[in-house]
Symmetry: C2
Subunit: 242 residues, 2 copies
């Protein structure tokens, strides 16, 4: 049957089928060509992701994904000593965990296209406004994430991708090329607006196209309806069914 | 692993992951709980769908879907003797084909929840405007589908669902309860606007809830991040991983 494209990541992946989401846009682009499989885990960092790895990507599945996006780091980059400390993973451990994930996927399939996506930038003002909307004056005054520190994780992600010979999307840098990225791309200083989702979609599609996974060049799973002869439909299906 | 919900149908299913699409909304609602699998085939009628049945739903898969939506009829209802004649299937054959599809799914799994969805209503004026936008003055003056005839297919679909003891969504009737359904729910007199997609989503979710497939009551596939003890993450995964 069709190949699978697995989206493995944190909440920004889990929410990718909401209105305007990048996951849904991929599923639409690959309709009748590949299945887009959602494996997003809100709040997860790379350390916790490792516990899922062998469940989601069993080494002996016989049918490994044709491509996987790995999109962690937004939680790893939560600061030590602040409200989201429990999600914090050091940069060195983040890199090491990404390496383990990539190595495992390569073991599952040497031909799998692997795309590491960096965390998006953080708008500290947006995070604080969001915290105040939840907790009022009790909201922590000190940010639980900063854009600067998240940028270090983004660099580490890009470096790891280079080191491992896989693709990467430097979302942190890409989004900051646009004026007003803070509100245009981020809904609460961290998660994505529909415009932010569109950036992820465009960047991932660019890489899939480079990697030989252009939806335009992939065959339909079954005959296009215009190829079916109404008087002899069997003909089209005999040729095109596997 | 997780159960699968398969969306089997024509273009209205194939396009269901576009912006505001009902398929994407289902995938979002079942994130971390079930996989929503897109099996939509633009232009297909139930006669051609039968050729796909054993490929998409192999009887011996060992892992049949937990639920399937069957959403055909818009093409079966194309009128004989008009521009879309090749897609026409008689009402009797439409019913018989739906019966075959349901029977096959029941053979695959006696516990699968099956939902037949009727074609949406047709706005003949909208269809004509669409044809003119494509073909100008060469557009056929006579409609290739009428709302009245499509309504007969919708009734046949509901009857067949009753006869076979499976669920149905009478989309044709439901949409026409709202004033201005012609433009509110249909983009070209046949396919769905985001508002039209929202109706399909709401109606399907209602049935899934009745059928014991409420996403709210289904367990997460892995621990919620708040259940993970940062100092002893293994604990949460030992309990919750299968």
């Amino acid at each position: 049957m069709r190949g699978q494209v697995v989206l493995f990541g944190d909440s920004i992946t889990e929410q990718s089928f909401r209105q305007g989401g990048w996951g849904a846009a991929l599923a639409n682009a690959y309709a009748r060509k590949a299945d887009v499989v959602l494996r997003g885990y809100g709040g997860y960092n790379t350390k916790w992701a490792l516990f899922l790895l062998h469940h989601i990507f069993p080494p002996d599945s016989g049918r490994p994904p044709i491509a996987t996006t790995i999109f962690f780091g937004a939680n790893d980059a939560a600061l030590s000593g602040r409200t989201s400390e429990r999600q914090h993973v050091s940069i060195e451990d983040y890199k090491q965990n990404l390496r383990k994930i990539v190595l495992h996927l390569k073991e599952c399939s040497p031909t799998m296209q692997i795309v590491l996506i960096t965390p998006p930038p953080v708008c500290e003002e947006g995070r604080h406004a969001y915290a105040k909307s939840l907790y009022g004056e009790n909201a922590m005054k000190l940010p639980e994430r900063t854009n600067e520190v998240t940028g270090q994780y983004a660099s580490a992600c890009v470096e790891t991708a280079k080191e491992m010979g896989v693709f990467s999307v430097d979302l942190w840098s890409k989004m900051q090329e646009t004026d007003g990225w803070q509100k245009k791309f981020l809904s609460d200083g961290l998660h994505l607006t529909p415009d932010g989702n569109a950036i992820v979609y465009q960047e991932v599609i660019k890489i899939f196209n480079k990697a030989g996974l252009s939806a335009d060049n992939m065959p339909l799973d079954f005959p296009h309806h215009s190829e079916i002869d109404a008087k002899n439909p069997e003909g089209a299906f005999q040729q095109k069914c596997f």
